[in-house]
Symmetry: C2
Subunit: 231 residues, 2 copies
Amino acid sequence: MSKLDESLLTGLPPFSLLERSQIREILDQALPKRYDEGAEIFHEGHDAERFHLLLDGYIRVVKTTEGGEQIIALHISPGQLFGIAPALNRDTYPATAIAASESLALSWPVRLWGEFTTKYPGFATESYSTLGQRLGEMQTRITELATQAVEQRVAAALLRMVTQSGRKVDEGIEIAFPVTRRNISEMTGTTLHTVSRLLSAWEKDGIVHSTRKHIVVTAPHRLVLLSGAQG
Amino acid sequence: MSKLDESLLTGLPPFSLLERSQIREILDQALPKRYDEGAEIFHEGHDAERFHLLLDGYIRVVKTTEGGEQIIALHISPGQLFGIAPALNRDTYPATAIAASESLALSWPVRLWGEFTTKYPGFATESYSTLGQRLGEMQTRITELATQAVEQRVAAALLRMVTQSGRKVDEGIEIAFPVTRRNISEMTGTTLHTVSRLLSAWEKDGIVHSTRKHIVVTAPHRLVLLSGAQG
DNA sequence: GGACCACTTTGTCCTTCAGCAAACTTGCGG
DNA sequence: CCGCAAGTTTGCTGAAGGACAAAGTGGTCC
């Protein structure tokens, strides 16, 4: 593994305001690792031995029910910490992390968590803000699941992915990682069949254009209408 | 308001391990307040000026959708901190808190949050553990909503309330605060009608006994079966 | 180039549960 | 003690969407 460059961390929220030497030190203790699409990074229930920072790619955080069904809890984008069980005094991971696309992540042993939070003021603050945001998102998903119809939930899920990872292409905005119908159904609590039907309908209406594992949203504003209070 | 007694806080997780003089100091800065059933303690979106500790009673934390529907996010029991937006660097409350029964709570201005967390080691740790648990519960609710049928969700909601606040009576275990059918429907994402039908059926089966705003679970084990993978 | 595999599409049926409506019960305030 | 409000029960109907089935379509590996 080649020597890591400091520019990797410079400007990332958790490490902003740090001096070059500090970043060097943090980096020297990091273990970089590449993950293929579909590769597991850590598993629900296992001992939380390391915490992670995603540098490139996208991560799906997944929970499995006793019935064997999977629920996608959230997606991680580059620059975000994940698997930060130590922040909440947990000693096992509460969910499984899987690379949604080919990804690169750094990780540190949990014992460094305490060191980082005390040594670098911004680090703790930033981490807990992240947690706060995630809590808010989960709130939103709960109210969505509790009050909205399937069509609205699927529209909202697409918009969330677009917002988090959308990149401009000439047709519209493309979700930057592979997504299957099944994936979407696991984000919205429905079946892949229903998702397929919805996407087909939207395709016909010119709202989205989707190929095998890729989705381009061509009319985001119409999707917003579908996701909102009334269509 | 009469002088507060130190025994109020002694032994409560957030303040365990503290010396008498420290507890005295904390208590002297606290504002105690009594709330009638249904009274609002703070409102979603308002400036988070204080954080709270529930001493007696039960609090419902509620989120309102644009459509005006309410979703009950969680219940707070005595001894728990709530409205701890500052822990996540939020400056507004993410939800509304309402007394589910007559309640007594202490509160402190948010500026003391930093002081408490730095001065009293156990305080921060304990607070973040609480947050971790809540995050876990929300996860569970999301998977429930996404994968389980209404009957299972309602059974699970009753069990959750029983676990959190159940007190033994001769018929079985009673939920310690008033709960209406509508409340349950707001916890489970269904309608009060459906909840009413379920409770009636369970009453006939001898699983619960419910009066107007009170529920006694007479056969918890059967409820567990209903909430589980298969009924 | 062919075979297999993963993903998708589409059709049909059937259950669950939300929506609507209306009567009933309980408790409280005057 | 009466009237009203809040909470509950119950019936009926219809639509949403899950379950099952089966065929279509890329993509990839040999």
